[in-house]
Symmetry: C2
Subunit: 387 residues, 2 copies
Amino acid sequence: MNTAAAVADFRRYPLIFAMTAAAPLTDRVHVTWADGRTSPFHHPWLRDNCPCAQCVYSVTREQVLEIVDVPEDMAPSTIHLDGEGCLCVDWQDGHQSRFDPGWLRAHAYDDQSRAERLANKPRRHLWQHDLQLPVFEHAALMDDAEALLQWLLAVRDIGLTQVRSVPTEPGSLKQIAQRISFIRESNFGVLFNVQSKADADSNAYTAFNLPLHSDLPTRELQPGLQFLHCLVNDADGGESIFVDGFAIAETLRQEDPDAFDALCQIPVEFRNKDRHSDYRYLAPIIALDALGQVSEIRMANFLRGPFDTSVEQMPRLYHAYRRFIALTREPHFRLARRLEPGQLWCFDNRRTLHARNAFDPASGARHFQGCYVDRDELLSRILVLQR
Amino acid sequence: MNTAAAVADFRRYPLIFAMTAAAPLTDRVHVTWADGRTSPFHHPWLRDNCPCAQCVYSVTREQVLEIVDVPEDMAPSTIHLDGEGCLCVDWQDGHQSRFDPGWLRAHAYDDQSRAERLANKPRRHLWQHDLQLPVFEHAALMDDAEALLQWLLAVRDIGLTQVRSVPTEPGSLKQIAQRISFIRESNFGVLFNVQSKADADSNAYTAFNLPLHSDLPTRELQPGLQFLHCLVNDADGGESIFVDGFAIAETLRQEDPDAFDALCQIPVEFRNKDRHSDYRYLAPIIALDALGQVSEIRMANFLRGPFDTSVEQMPRLYHAYRRFIALTREPHFRLARRLEPGQLWCFDNRRTLHARNAFDPASGARHFQGCYVDRDELLSRILVLQR
């Protein structure tokens, strides 16, 4: 059994269906599987994915071969299925490749195989005000890999979670965030303190209400996850409010497709500047992935620059922007909770917009700490925990 | 003179042309300037950009007004130009706005004004093997804000620079990178050591040649700037090679537009995985900005996963990929230099692909340190230095 391919990417590729036949065509090998599916594999694809020790360096599991070093018309001289069910290709230049059937099926690119992989991708769960909030216990997340995985899957698929019984010493947030990976630094520091300050360099550091927003829309890549940890909360007001930005975007797409398109197409500048920094980034408010699914909301009214689009588009943009903001204010989208000391929010900053009611700094102390971890780190950690 | 707007974003908006007239239309105000240009400003745009202390919090310079709090059909009751040349708008609800003419001209969105701003954007300089390498002295960059600015402009517009007379103590790289901003951490650390290792977790940490690539194509946002600092280089071989990925992409666009389109359209997965991490990211190799200009190259053959596209597209993708790689190998694109101790490269990791010739670890020691700083930080630092 050729396990080189499986080792090569830290995954197992169990045999699901055997290959029953492999037929050589002019530009490809045509494989038939035990369930009747047929998968073409073009010659360059097979040569490029040869898992042998000459083509892949076994220590790093990284490819050494570059396909451009093989002639463009390289073809097999013979192919066969061996006694262990592997596809063996003898190339015209004498090179030999051997493909494990589990690996080959997992990477087949016939329409049916591709549709199957797509259907198996994780699905997000859209939510409204009545979300059953996913709550996790700090001690379990620190000790138990399975609890950690369940938390991270909820962050990925729901985008809003709460953790309880977190120590209230300043800096405690670091340990729990580092259960995922390193923290993403910003000009506000590694951990940032959310307190009302006289010399605030952002409205976040005042006692004002903050409208629903994503953090750091002024950066090319908005932080993936945001943590907000409550150390002290003796002040009146200051409740946290969340909406599922993806649910709002989908609602807008249904009720006013042109407004939705405007927010997907017209770039808007977000800005954050103080004496030492001057961040500006221009992007549409709604980003779509390659499948047309909403993949990101970029929104913070207080960090937005003047709209700069053509005279023809300007009324359309204002109409769409107003409608989006109006939707974020509809009660059936809004989940409101007061965070108590020892609790923290962990949410998808690019999906779940967050807001804060105004609080009264004269009524008592209020001290939250926050930090960011990027989506890359979340997804990597999930894959490692799932191995 | 109303300077609130100018203060609001740490820029000065000098008066270039005065307003000579402001005419009220149904949905907009029509401004005429002393040079004859005319600029429409829609009512919501004017109300949204009111710089008064009620609408913008003066300490943070961030907007408090949300346009959705103003009726969609809000219109001026009267408008006039005051004695200081400002546009004054009295709104139907009694609110008053006053717009500085320098600020208003800088943000006008008539076609001519928008084209003018576009034309004034920084331009990249494409290069080939005969680039006059921009070289900077470490001491000047550490002390002199003007030298620092010149360096950062070269990084932004050319994408490849060298710094000389850098101390060769390990960690010295940190100080120079932090002249821009904080360093972007990765799973390889804050500073990474480029040395040949027996237990390499990337081909970068072997003595192999490395083909032309960008670093961390496995992450959603590839690092903006890469630094490589030479501490010791007694080994034979190991020359650095650079190509301007944007120049190569433009060449491909000219000679084979369909291959160019394939690399812009078909996403490719890049992977980097070890015992503790499993990063995967799917994106096209060439990214374009909103104007159709090449804005990013994502490329590392040794981190690439199997191509996964439709049967119809697969030969097209292989053809395009081969052609791109073949272009990176053409001598007239390639600049090769051996880095000596005390020298460092700082280059645009998303534009300037880098390679390393194989070296002979038995012939002598070789120790480089590297780190990353993101494009956001570079652009912010340039804007602050230019104030």
